[in-house]
């Protein structure tokens, strides 16, 4: 097969492009084959591959920046606390439906200097009696020892609080299904640090078996 540069039949020089005319020795396939073969490397250079190296540089720099920032950034979390609903605790509900009011168990965890106090209105918690210790303070208030005293090192016993709340939760679920807890009220002495309050909320939220009392509202001891 001869090249397309010269036509063997006419002897004239050809331009190398297919003109639409078929000569005696050259077919359309020959022309296209020759043209593709000649200009193949040129086409490859023109199309080429997109240079992604600058893009890669930007990506690498961004990743480095984000990794460094994330390492220095404080990981933030959230604790939901809702304001107590006065409507559900008001006398109007009790007048309308006294049975429903009886079933409400208002569970309160008090944080004091001596430890945690767990109290309930609307029911007597397991392991407790309605009568107190009998010791009355000068202000005429009955004095009780804390439900969960401080640890010997002076820290609060959050593990015991968690265990006690689990006990109460099981007691309600198994023995007193007529009782209903809307949530947990947390009260603390005025000087109690916020960190202790947050740790108390953590202890009352859940344990290894599941949720305890995740709905929390703050209240105050007068």
């Amino acid at each position: 097969m001869t090249t397309g540069s010269e036509s063997p039949s006419s002897g004239q020089k050809q331009s190398g492009y297919y003109t639409g005319r078929e000569t005696q020795n050259y077919t359309y396939t020959d022309f296209t084959y020759v043209r593709r073969k000649r200009s193949g490397h040129v086409e490859e250079e023109e199309v080429g591959e997109l240079n992604i190296v600058p893009y890669l540089d930007i990506i690498v720099n961004l990743i480095m920046f984000l990794l460094v920032v994330q390492a220095t950034l404080v990981s933030l979390g959230l604790i939901d606390v809702t304001a107590p609903s006065y409507a559900s605790l008001g006398p109007s509900d009790a007048q309308q439906n006294p049975e429903q009011q009886k079933k409400q168990l208002r569970l309160t965890v008090g944080i004091a200097r001596e430890g945690f106090y767990i109290a309930a209105s609307g029911g007597v918690l397991p392991g407790e009696t309605e009568e107190g210790s009998g010791e009355i303070t000068e202000e005429g208030v009955e004095k009780r020892p804390p439900t969960i005293p401080l640890l010997p090192d002076g820290n609060y016993n959050f593990a015991a609080l968690k265990a006690r709340l689990r006990e109460i939760k099981d007691w309600i679920a198994n023995e007193h299904t007529e009782l209903e807890t809307t949530g947990l009220y947390v009260a603390a002495e005025a000087t109690t640090p916020y960190e202790v309050v947050v740790k108390t909320l953590d202890a009352s939220r859940d344990d290894t078996r599941g949720d305890l009392f995740p709905a929390v509202a703050f209240t105050e001891i007068r």
């Binding site: 992604i52 190296v53 893009y55 890669l56 990506i59 690498v60 961004l62 990743i63 984000l66 990794l67 920032v69 994330q70 950034l73 404080v74 990981s75 933030l76 979390g77 959230l78 604790i79 939901d80 606390v81 809702t82 304001a83 944080i111 603390a188 002495e189 005025a190 000087t191 109690t192 640090p193 916020y194 960190e195 309050v197 947050v198 740790k199 909320l201 953590d202 939220r205 703050f218 105050e220």
Partner: protein, 192 residues
Amino acid sequence: MTTQSQESSGPTSYAMYDATRKRRKTKRHRRTSEADIAYLNITPMLDMMTILLVFLLKSFSASSQDVSVENLLLPHSTTKLNIDEALMVMITRDKILVDKRLVTELTPEGLLRPEDLPEGPHGYLVEPLYEILENKAAYFKRIEDFGGTQFVGKIAIVADRQTSYQTIFKVLYTAGRAEFGFFKLFVQKPPG
């Protein structure tokens, strides 16, 4: 005649001939290796990088609230909830800020000043904070009226770990009075 042609054409001994072959082979091999490196395919690496970048940007936006303020160390908590968009009230060891703007200062003991409590020392309402929060609530309601985000009364409490319960309680009470009834306590998650 033969000797002359050998001298002019190449090596004269088998040792030299072998050495030349070896050198040429090494050179050819080196050239081939260089060509391989020149055509290293970096597209899979780029794919991986892009996925990593998207992941980092996503996790970056999830915890991108800036709470870096002087005298403010957040308490640690085991909560699994991520932070939410809300009006931010900060209680540092010496001041109260709303959206990082000073509202009032606290006493050196970290308690509220008597002049900020119009209902007396046992009162709960913190007047300067109430005024600002009331204005904010009115502003958010106006936005809602114009078809913007619905006002639900969410407020983020970013307090120092040593803040007293009394101060926290009074701030929450004041926020509740100003129609911000959904409190979001910002805490620090344990690392990792």
